[in-house]
Amino acid sequence: MLTGETKFFIAVLFFTALIISVAVYLVLQPPQAIPNLDRTTAQRLGPATARVTLVEFSDYQCPACKTVSPELKKLLAKYPSSLQLVLRHYPLPQHTLALELAKSAEAAGMQGKFWEMHDLIFERQATMSAKGIVEMAADLKLDLDSFEKDRRSKQVEEKIALDKVDALRAGVNSTPTFFINGYPLQFRSIDDIDIAIEKQLTK
């Protein structure tokens, strides 16, 4: 016959096993894809039919974003039919010009030159100033009146505000932050992205 103490021990073991099983089950649940990472209005490169969508939250005064930019272009060239890059803005508050630069890129986008402006901003990142924004617009031969009007427009402001809301909901707190097909991507070097793309393509 079992003693009272033995029965107590068996009960304790049973409940411990039960709690651990529930915890392990919950931990092993596959994570849900994060919603609203991609918006139809977001700037993008690569075919819409691509199997892999890479979303980047970027800041124009972040050195790492600058470094990664040409590397992303190389990846787009490596996977011409299967990779789409979606660029969303996450101007960090400590970067005083970042928000203005994001607005300028969007304003250039309204004249069909988003990516030209994007590349030019990174090219001149080290020496960027408020005056430099207008110079870039002039160098890209943009209609300066429209550019000035657009970058101060409500439409552009709301677009970037929406990017920030979506970023915060997705848990973004630094730049660049990447999401691949709706899931967060651990980014230490460009190879991490390449490996993640390969993984998605072999799924």
């Binding site: 003693t3 033995t6 107590f8 021990f9 304790v12 411990t16």
Partner: protein
């Protein structure tokens, strides 16, 4: 009654050791109350004596205490022998945690909160196991 405490404490200790062992094996970050202490201790050469990860020693130690405690509850004819076995294991455990705490403080120079927690648990179990014996001697 004391055996119930031995059982519960060894279960808690064993679960902690299992959690840490799992993070050793999968190289996932540890939740740590002493800042970066746990990571420093984990990455130190003392974390794997003779190739055995310290938490594995913890799992084995706590599991054996748990097993002996369970057998004690059955009140078999080996009760006396099991009491001494429990005392022997807890003594070894105590020696081990004292040495490891010494290594942490003086050689690694970092404190891992989980190790401190485990050391406290093994000390309590040691007192419970030996206290019973001392009481019996006195009565």
């Amino acid at each position: 009654m004391k055996n119930r405490f031995v059982f519960i404490f060894s279960l808690v200790g064993g679960l902690i050791a299992l959690y840490i062992l799992n993070s050793y094996q999968t190289a996932t970050p540890l939740v740590c109350l002493s800042g970066s202490g746990c990571e420093i201790v984990r990455k130190s050469p003392y974390a794997n004596p003779f190739g055995i990860p310290v938490p594995a020693i913890g799992v084995a130690g706590f599991a054996s205490i748990l097993g002996v405690s369970f057998l004690l509850s059955l009140k078999t004819k080996y009760h006396h022998l099991l009491t001494w076995l429990l005392k022997a294991i807890t003594l070894l455990g105590l020696i081990f945690v004292i040495s490891f705490t010494y290594i942490e403080i003086f050689l690694i120079r970092a404190i891992c909160s989980w190790c401190v927690f485990s050391a406290a648990i093994i000390t309590i179990i040691f007192i419970l196991a030996w206290h019973q014996a001392i009481l019996r001697k006195l009565c």
